[in-house]
């Protein structure tokens, strides 16, 4: 269940902080998504529309346009692989293969234990240490298939330990 009050408070907070009494939809959605870990439940999206006084259809339009937002629950660890050229020419293809194999999922899927979601991202601005992935807010560079496997194993151990 979505905690109505928490959402409403979040949105009101954002309204207060904004410099102008204008549109703050995207900021609000970011915060809601953080609140739920990594996705926005449909119910919460409806509340945002109500609170900000914008049509629900507009909220959906925005939600579906930006790849960072998801209305499907994502795993505890969202693994984003950079799929741009600097990472590609330095071995990114093997990194992607390794991730898909180790996790047993394809892009935009979540592992059945709910731990990992695999996504693509464009350049993370760390091409100096390509190939690169991002797990939630952390970056990992200079990757090799071996390092990727170790990383996933250690996250898995941590994830299940809780």
């Amino acid at each position: 269940m979505v905690d109505r009050e928490a959402i409403v408070n979040l949105v009101r907070n954002i309204k207060q902080q904004a410099l102008e009494e204008r549109d703050m939809l995207i900021n609000a959605l970011h915060q809601i998504q953080n609140h739920f870990g990594s996705y926005i439940p449909v119910e919460a999206a409806k509340l945002v529309a109500e609170e900000l006084n914008v049509p629900e259809s507009k909220v959906y339009e925005v939600l579906t346009f930006y790849t960072m937002f998801s209305i499907k629950p994502r795993g505890k660890y969202v693994v984003r692989v950079c799929v741009n050229l600097p990472c590609h020419v330095t071995g990114g293809r093997q990194i992607i293969e390794t991730l898909k194999q180790t996790l047993g999922i394809d892009f935009d899927q979540t592992t059945s234990d709910g731990l990992f979601t695999l996504e693509r991202t464009s350049c993370l601005g760390l091409c100096g240490v390509a190939p690169v992935i991002m797990v939630n807010d952390e970056y990992y560079g200079d990757l090799t298939p071996k390092k990727v496997k170790e990383l996933i194993e250690s996250l898995r151990a941590r994830g299940e330990g809780r």
């Binding site: 102008e20 995207i26 507009k58 790849t67 960072m68 464009s122 760390l126 690169v132």
Partner: protein, 599 residues
Amino acid sequence: MPLTTSTVLICAGGACISSGEASVKEALKKEIRKYGLDEVVRVVETGCMGACSLGPIIVIYPDGVFYQKLTPRAAEKIVQEHLLKGRIVQEYLYKMPTGEVVPEAMDKLPFFAKQVKIATRNVGYIDPSNIEEYIARDGYFALNKVLTQMSPEQVIEEIKRSGLRGRGGAGFPTGLKWELTRKAKGDRKYIVCNADEGDPGAFMDRSILEGDPHTVLEAMVIAGYAIGAHQGYIYVRAEYPLAIERLQIAIAQAKEFGFLGENILGSEFGFDIEIRIGAGAFVCGEETALIASIEGKRGQPRVKPPYPAQSGVWGCPTVINNVETFACVPPIIIKGADWFRSIGTPTSPGTKVFALAGKITNTGLVEVPMGITIKELLYEIGGGSSTGKKIKAVQTGGPSGGCIPSEYFDTPVDYESLQKLGAIMGSGGMIVMDEDDCMVDVARFFLEFTVDESCGKCTPCREGTRQMLKILEKITSGEGSEKDLIELETLGNIIKDTSLCGLGQTAPNPVLSTLRYYRHEYEAHVREKRCPALRCKALVRYVIDPSKCVGCTACARVCPVNAISGELRKVHTIDNDVCVRCGSCIEVCRFGAISKVSP
């Protein structure tokens, strides 16, 4: 109070963080405490020093000794030897490709010696979360000068005379943009900083935001004063959480010090800045899309004119500039337009920050005068190829740009010269490729990117790029024909001419430029079904040379799909119908018996 006798700068840029900066810093601090040096040694975390492939990095002042590729263990040793006994620790100094240890001082290293730092003058030298360090390096002096000695018109005149051009891609003269916005009708105006940096292979904006956020704030206030705006937005990609965090800290400090808010520095002028966070859409870097996104809409471009100078945020006149463009403003105000013009070329004054990525030894960021040749940039500063193979091409300008073959590496880097070659300056990403990279694959790669990122508003971009991608996929899988090459050119030109925004108008460039310079590679794919670079999976086979194979079984054990068969001490063979071309077997074979062939 004891004087600080040494300052240790530790790079806390994104790349160094990812290579273990935190544990090196911990070890460093712990060891310094252990020897009671905390009173005389200061440890400062800076933004990206530029030499990202060498991280984690520290530089010890007053001598400027540069230590690289550090581990916690190395940090301890440096404290014990260098800080305690004044002995330089040879093993962590930078070594030339020849193995020779070069002068230990940072500014003598070939990578740094040729650079001229304007936009990144503070990045890597100061603690970005401490406003006093920025002020100590002339920070907010330009703002003070502007507010106390210059009229808005004089500010605009100075920027115009400096010849500063937008660093976000198109190279539009910044002073002119400010003037147009100042003159536009409307009592509310806005300043927007474009920090959406989406070009693959470009990370200069990220490093400025992370390493010197105040310079962007200062420039935005100056721009606000010049055009008569009181409100600014910084639009940052959500993929840059560290930049967002450092900007938030900087904004709070600037407010506290009276550089933001009302009555700035005691003047009549007031200005405020708010951060807006993107949500993973490349097209939002385009200015009209970015403005739509600030307004909380889907980030889709609209037809220009009207330009943002007339109608930007909430329909009000708006200046939108790139991060690096802004970072050049305070030095121009302090040192003057003539100084700026004395660097670079007549049509492209000043410096440009380039991001070196791909198969180059010194990946990272460099700031050099415009007009430097590609060769100097890639070999003297970049250290040449990182793979031992010949550099074949450099891609500039990301998905809107083109590939420049090595025959043209004497070309000076400026807006016009690159354009003539069918590439563009773009935001300054330089992706280096060697003989193992297939140019058809590269073109396909960029098209994949644009197909993904096209906002879908107009048909030529949405459908046309998809069509081009299909053809390229056909070619790379060995099913293309000569006709396809002509079709690619025709489609490319139509998309360029009929798309609504810059994304579509430039999307065919990577294909057209590779077709221009590497037609023979395309032809090998369509005529002989051969990939000369051995890159396109469908066109290569893995074979074992029976005269070299000793039957050690290493390859068979590593193959993920059991494509390799053979008994111990007998020659092995690969079933190419099963092989998924992962390349693992080549890596493990110690006898060099496995190779790729095409066809």
